[in-house]
């Protein structure tokens, strides 16, 4: 969702990089680019200025002089500042006990997504074992009441409305009584969209506020909003004292700078993000993920530089030689994987690869790390011969043996071999090519991965859900040890 902003920053840091030691002035140039990309991401101008001041204060001088790798240090500072600007977070709706009525009030500009988000919260609360009641306080927009009723039916969540009423305050009052009657414990007030400069309607909203005494007033903001986001958010906050912000329509390519601006200007935490029209498309807001995505930004060159430093140079050269000869074995594959995991948490590393960011969204670190461990486990359970020539040698019997050795399902062995052969083709084709061509190939490879997002990684997530019993694990461990001894006897295991 923040990909566009990521692209911008990625461009900025490309210029920051590769200039050897940065002087104060050429870091400023880089920061100017950061500033520009934030502006192009619709972060409000004054907020951008505040942000840049902070970054500059923190980076200039000491950091530049001491740092051996200033560009990375600046990235670090920007990343941390982004997190600080968007946090701290508070996802809780601060629900009271089930024997009390918690009141949530939605408000915002026209068409921002209030009614849809009311439904999404209703769904969430119902799933959490609560009894929500949605209230149609929008008596203005044509068919607004119908809209909420239809959503209520879809979710099997009750909706209170009164089509004869003209005053949302009266509806609210009646809804409070109705909630008691039917034993609802959360009231969700869907108010009409209004302009923050419409005094009459803002006054009406305040009256609803006084009647309902909401426990949480939530401002719903369209993530595509530009510079005006701070004006409206500030006005709603002044009128109502907001408790949280929900940012909608982040499933598109909006740069979403509003997240930064609104939080900075109002201090109100962003609680959730809307990522689709369907009623389950609501996620918690995570500033670190957001900032991580902003920076972990398809910045593959950073990854390459980092990799080049950390990879064993001799090993690289040896691999390069073999690749040139058209050889790329599972052993090489395993070594590379091992090296990648040394770079840091898998999710971060993957986040640096363009296109992988969104793929990683489906995984948390644990799943990803486990997926990696499983892959390594499979390779480790192979004999040297199998590793050298997996597609030819590994038959059904061997597949089963390897699977039990690694504690995985036989089909996972199959998948790994398939992936490996696809990868080895690319790797051998890459050998001898310059960095630029390689990057292009990696990108092409990733587009492939993107077009099949339900591919390998998600499938592994499912299979890793199958937990083995302790007995099964012990048995497998024994088998693995046996395998290991056998392989050592073989003598030429690649380890």
């Amino acid at each position: 969702m923040f990909e566009a902003l990521q692209d911008g920053l990625s461009g900025a840091f490309k210029t920051l990089r590769g200039q050897g030691k940065l002087s104060e002035s050429n870091m400023r140039d880089g920061l100017k680019l950061v500033e520009r990309s934030l502006l192009e991401a619709d972060v409000s101008f004054p907020v951008v200025r505040d942000f840049m001041k902070r970054i500059t204060d923190e980076s200039v001088g000491e950091a530049v002089l001491k740092s051996l790798n200033p560009s990375q240090q600046v990235v670090g500072v920007v990343y941390q500042a982004l997190i600080d600007f968007m946090g701290p977070v508070d996802h809780s709706l601060h629900l009271k006990g089930k024997n009390e009525l918690t009141v949530l009030m939605m408000c915002g500009l026209q068409g921002s997504g209030k009614t849809t988000t009311s439904g999404k919260l209703g769904r969430l609360l119902k799933a959490a074992g609560r009894s929500p009641l949605m209230v149609a306080c929008d008596l203005q927009r044509p068919a607004a009441i119908d809209q909420l009723h239809i959503i209520g039916e879809q979710l099997d969540v009750p909706v209170f409305s009164d089509r004869t009423q003209k005053d949302p305050v009266a509806v609210t009052k009646a809804a409070q009584a109705h909630a008691k009657k039917i034993g609802a414990d959360v009231l969700i007030l869907d108010t009409a969209g209004r302009l923050h400069v419409d005094e009459a309607l803002m006054e009406e909203l305040k009256r609803v506020d006084r009647q309902a005494m909401p426990d949480q007033v939530l401002l719903v903001i369209d993530s595509m909003t530009g510079q005006d986001a701070v004006n409206s958010a500030k006005a709603f906050n002044d009128a109502l004292e907001l408790d949280g912000v929900i940012l909608t329509k982040l499933d598109g390519d909006a740069r979403g700078g509003a997240a930064l601006s609104v939080k900075h200007v109002t201090g109100v935490p962003i609680k959730f993000i809307g990522v689709g029209e369907h009623l389950d498309a609501l996620e918690e807001f995570h500033p670190d993920r957001m900032a991580g995505r902003i920076l972990g930004q398809g910045d593959i060159l950073t990854l390459v530089e980092k990799a080049q430093r950390e990879f064993d140079q001799d090993e690289m050269l040896a691999q390069e030689e073999r690749l040139k000869k058209g050889e790329f074995t599972l052993d090489d594959f395993r070594k590379q994987m091992g090296q990648i995991s040394r770079l840091g948490p898998l999710q971060k590393v993957m986040g640096m690869i363009p296109g992988m960011g969104s793929l990683m969204k489906h995984l948390d670190d644990v799943d990803a790390e486990q997926g990696m461990k499983r892959m390594l486990g499979i390779v480790d359970s192979m004999t040297a011969d199998e590793k050298r020539n997996p597609t030819k040698v590994i038959d059904q019997n061997r597949r089963r043996r390897i699977a039990s050795g690694a504690g995985v399902e036989p089909h996972e062995v199959n998948e790994l071999v398939k992936q490996f052969s696809a990868m080895s083709q690319v790797m051998t084709a890459m050998a001898g090519k310059g960095v630029k061509d390689r990057m292009k190939m990696v990108r092409e490879l990733q587009t492939g991965a993107m077009s099949n997002p339900a591919g390998q990684l998600t499938r592994q997530k499912q299979s890793s859900g199958k937990r083995l019993s302790p007995q099964e694990k012990a048995k497998l461990k024994k088998q693995r040890e046996k395998e290991l001894r056998k392989r050592r006897r073989d003598g030429k295991g690649g380890k």
Partner: protein
């Protein structure tokens, strides 16, 4: 109230914000145009959402003409206006009516931009011109979208063609045009569901709707209007670019210009995509629509400054 008044009313708040900033720039009689000044100017222009490229162009223009000089406010404003006027220049292009048979207008845009309401406003305008109008309820997805358009058709006294919820929007559009032809209706306006420009399937669906309209009337839709929320920031450029790729957009309806948002992204859109603005929405009622006129847009944007320009320190 004339249309232009309404349009100006929509812009007044915009102008207010812009003007306060501008007058801050000129605390005394004149000011030296230096880097610091240019940077402050950049900030002001950027707040209109006109985008980096457009703002930078204006800054460059001012720098070229005035750098190193001490100038009066109106000189600078004249440059801004000239530059913006140049950027936004276009034919006064209202609706292109069909030579014969119904004029078909297809309306599209992202979620919640103001499509359905803008259709009601257009319908009210055509009705007031004595034309008959038929609405096609092509949003078969969103909860109560059909009900919403139906209520408008009842209020305005227009015909309406609806499909069952979940019916393919292309078939609803087809039937709407079919009926408009059969009943010799003057204007047929087809509503579509809100969609984000990145949703490939939904964008393809939009193309299909256009295709199905063409099956009946090859030169239709005569207008494909993209409704843009005036609060939209730079994403508006992506919206214009992508919708234009999927359907043959003819212009923009800039909705919600009655707030504090400046709608300046249309400047960037004009520059980068070329799509002109045809109408502006300035409220939630059927009559809250005005023709977009670029000169007036620019004039209105700077009208206040000029009035106060001589000795403009404020």
């Amino acid at each position: 109230m004339g249309l232009f008044d309404k349009f100006k009313r929509g812009l007044t708040k915009t102008v207010k914000i812009l003007n306060t900033d501008v007058r801050d720039l000129f605390k005394s009689e004149g000011r030296l145009i230096d880097d610091e000044f240019l940077d402050e100017m950049r900030a002001i222009l950027f707040k209109t959402d006109m985008g980096f490229v457009s703002a930078e162009e204006i800054v460059a223009e001012v720098a070229k003409n005035f750098r190193g000089r001490v100038v009066q406010l109106e000189d600078v404003v004249r440059t801004w206006k000239a530059k913006l006027g140049e950027l936004m220049r276009q034919d006064a292009s209202p609706i292109r009516f069909a030579a014969s048979g119904p004029t078909v207008i297809m309306v599209c845009g992202v979620n919640g931009a103001g499509k359905t309401t803008s259709i009601a406003k257009l319908a009210a305008m055509f009705k007031s011109e004595g034309k008959s109008v038929l609405l096609g309820a092509g949003d078969t997805f969103r909860a109560a979208a059909v009900e919403q358009l139906t209520i408008w058709s009842q209020r305005l006294g227009t015909e309406i063609v609806t499909g069952d919820p979940g019916a393919h929007p292309a078939s609803v559009a087809y039937r709407a045009v079919e009926q408009a032809v059969a009943k010799q209706i003057d204007v047929c306006i087809v509503d579509t569901a809100g969609r984000l420009q990145t949703q490939k399937n939904l964008m393809a669906e939009l193309t299909k709707i256009q295709t199905s309209i063409r099956k009946l009337v090859p030169e239709a839709p005569h207008e494909v209007l993209l409704v843009l929320d005036a609060t939209t920031g730079q994403n508006g450029v992506s919206q214009a670019a992508n919708f234009t790729q999927s359907v043959d957009c003819t212009g923009i309806v800039l909705a919600k210009l009655d707030g504090t948002a400046k709608g300046g992204v249309v400047v960037a859109i004009r520059q980068q995509v070329g799509l002109p603005v045809k109408y502006v929405g300035v409220g939630e009622k059927a009559e809250d629509l005005a023709l977009f006129q670029p000169e007036e847009f620019v004039d209105a944007l700077f009208a206040d400054i000029e009035a106060k320009a001589p000795g403009a320190a404020g």
